[in-house]
Amino acid sequence: MTEATPIVLPNMAARRVAGIARAIVRTALFALIIVWSAFPILYIVVSSFKQQKEIFKYPPDIIFTPTFEHYAALATKWTGFFPTMGNSLIVAVGATILACVASILSGFVYSRYANRFLAGSVLYLIAIRLLPPIVVTLPLFPVVDALKLSDTHLVLIILYATFWVSLCTMIMKTFIDKIPRTLDEAAVVDGATTMQTLVRVIMPLALQGIAACAIFVFVFAWNEYLFALIFTTQHAKTAPLIISEVMDAVSGTNWGVLFAGVTVQLLPVTLLVMLAQRFLIAGLTAGSVKG
């Protein structure tokens, strides 16, 4: 028998110092990333509570008396803002429901069935997603006009949902792939139809994926500007358009009101993302590890 290599004890003190150094570097990097991402948001939120003249003061006041005057101005001078938030909500919820329903159905098909047509259509689905939105926006204009969908909630719902169906389909496919097929078979033997199998067995188990898709679509639809600018004028106008109007006002930009508008606009999505970040991360990493 060959002799085993003897165990050499490492320098434990040096190892401990290296460990502490690594922890410090790691913490510093995290802090940098957090400041980098949170600073603009924090700046906007804090500024929305400052007097107009304090906003750009240098050096800025850390301690100041908060004012709600910009919020009052937003409600009184920009009367369109809060009603358009209602539009934003209708459009975002509508697009979320439509995109989720379509993605669950198509994700199920892509996960459970295979043929040449489906394989080809996946490529098409991904290719479509790679097009910049502006490329499809302009040709769509006459189509939307002909269908008399201009300035309706429906046009934005359809556009936003369409824009996200491809990615959400892939997310749903990845989640459904992880559900063992024997569960589908057990349901079929139990007497379930394909739709019952999907609704009663697959969907409850793919809930994380559905939630991830819903958040992606909702946040996108809530914040979207380009489609809303082109396809709505009055009736279905969404909140981001008003924020842009505040910025481009003839009387000059009222930064306080602008920041107040942005803060109000940010609030629902920030809350939603914070509440559901667990699902978001699951959606982002779907398929990265074999289940």
Binding site: T182, D190, G191, P204
Partner: protein, 363 residues
């Protein structure tokens, strides 16, 4: 009465045929086991019967009616899956009652039926738990309960015990056997474990490469294997199969081993008609070889002990004899040592002879 006819079953995936022209019947109340190594087509046949795989060729009849085109539900079959396939988001009660719920059975009636099944399977206290809160054996019982609650015409079991540890497997095997004895539902059971097949089956079908290698009672397959494959597959430890040349010396039949060693058989023993110049495969089960002669053991073979595998009360003795390796199952009294010479005795009636070319039984 015949419950199920499987008539010339063929299964193709594209141009690859995996089940070749297989026919058999299952009688009412019979427990039929399909056994074979992985890839032999046993699960495919079960899934074809269940309605989970399309039947590429042939006909499936249940009580005389062709059911090829019917869904599993319409065929009135219930299935227990290898990985249990319990719905993770449902409680035990919901899992068992799911098929009744889909069939729109009223809630109170559903609860009664679920309770009846749960009581039989002794899982009544687990009804509100989720599958992840159950042990392997409990999950398996829920899976069986889910199949039972539907009162099916046919129970299908797809390797239901292969995920359990040895002790639990033995326990569940007993439970399935008891259940079948009390319910008497026609059952088709797939396994790769010959012990499961032997203990559970009324009749066994042993499959190899999509063909039936042998069909019969457990005794038929054990005592009169139709070919070398079945001889080696059924029984543990596996049957000793040794190439020999059959001939005669001094008026007695003699088997000559490859290394020149000879096995004398009793005068008067008639060997089957031999081809290939008498080259045959001789088989004997380890439990039919003994280190001490008894009245029936009129033949013997000599060799040297190579290896010992104690099993507790018994011991597996591997012996080199004239170029052949033989394993015997003997009673362990500490009498064996590797390197020691050993004579193993056997009853010539226990000898199986197979054609060396076709591998088929000669007697």
């Amino acid at each position: 009465m015949v419950a199920i006819n499987i008539d010339r079953f063929v299964k193709r995936y594209g141009s690859v045929e995996v089940v070749h022209d297989i026919s058999f019947d299952i009688k009412e109340g019979e427990f039929l086991v399909l056994v074979g190594p992985s890839g032999c087509g046993k699960s495919t046949i079960l899934r074809m019967v269940a309605g989970l795989e399309e039947i590429s060729g042939g006909e499936l009849r249940m009580q005389g009616t062709r059911v090829n085109e019917l869904s599993p539900k319409e065929r009135q079959v219930a299935m227990v899956f290898q990985d249990y396939a319990l719905y993770p988001h449902m409680s035990v009660e919901q899992n068992i009652g799911f098929s009744l719920e889909l069939a729109r059975v009223p809630r109170t009636e559903r609860q009664e039926q679920v309770k009846r099944v749960a009581d039989i399977l002794q899982i009544g206290h687990l009804l509100h738990r989720r599958p992840r809160e159950l042990s392997g054996g409990q999950r398996q019982r829920v899976a069986i309960g889910r199949a039972m609650v539907r009162k099916p015409h046919l129970f299908l079991f797809d390797e239901p015990l292969s995920n359990l540890d040895a002790k639990l497997r033995a326990e569940m095997r007993g439970q399935i056997k008891r259940l079948h004895q009390s319910l008497k539902t026609t059952s088709m059971y797939v396994t790769h474990d010959q012990l499961e097949a032997m203990t559970l089956a009324d009749r066994i079908i042993c499959l190899l490469d999509g063909h039936i290698a042998q069909m019969g009672t457990p005794h038929d397959l054990f005592d009169r294997p139709a070919n070398v494959f079945v001889a080696e597959f059924i029984g543990s430890p596996t049957m000793n199969i040794v190439p020999v040349t059959a001939g005669a010396a001094g008026g007695r039949p003699v088997l000559t081993l490859a290394g020149g060693g000879q096995v004398g058989l009793p005068a008067g023993m008639v060997l089957p008609a031999l081809t290939n110049g008498g080259n045959v495969l001789a088989g004997i089960r380890p439990e039919h070889l003994s280190d001490t002669p008894t009245p029936g053991t009129t033949a013997h073979i000599e060799g040297v002990i190579e290896m010992l595998e104690p099993l507790g009360s018994d011991i597996l003795v591997t012996m080199q004899a004239g170029g052949a390796t033989l394993t015997a199952r003997c009673t362990d009294k500490g009498q064996f040592q590797p390197g020691q010479p050993l004579t193993l005795h056997f009853d010539p009636a226990r000898l199986h002879l197979f054609d060396s070319k076709t591998q088929m039984r000669l007697t």
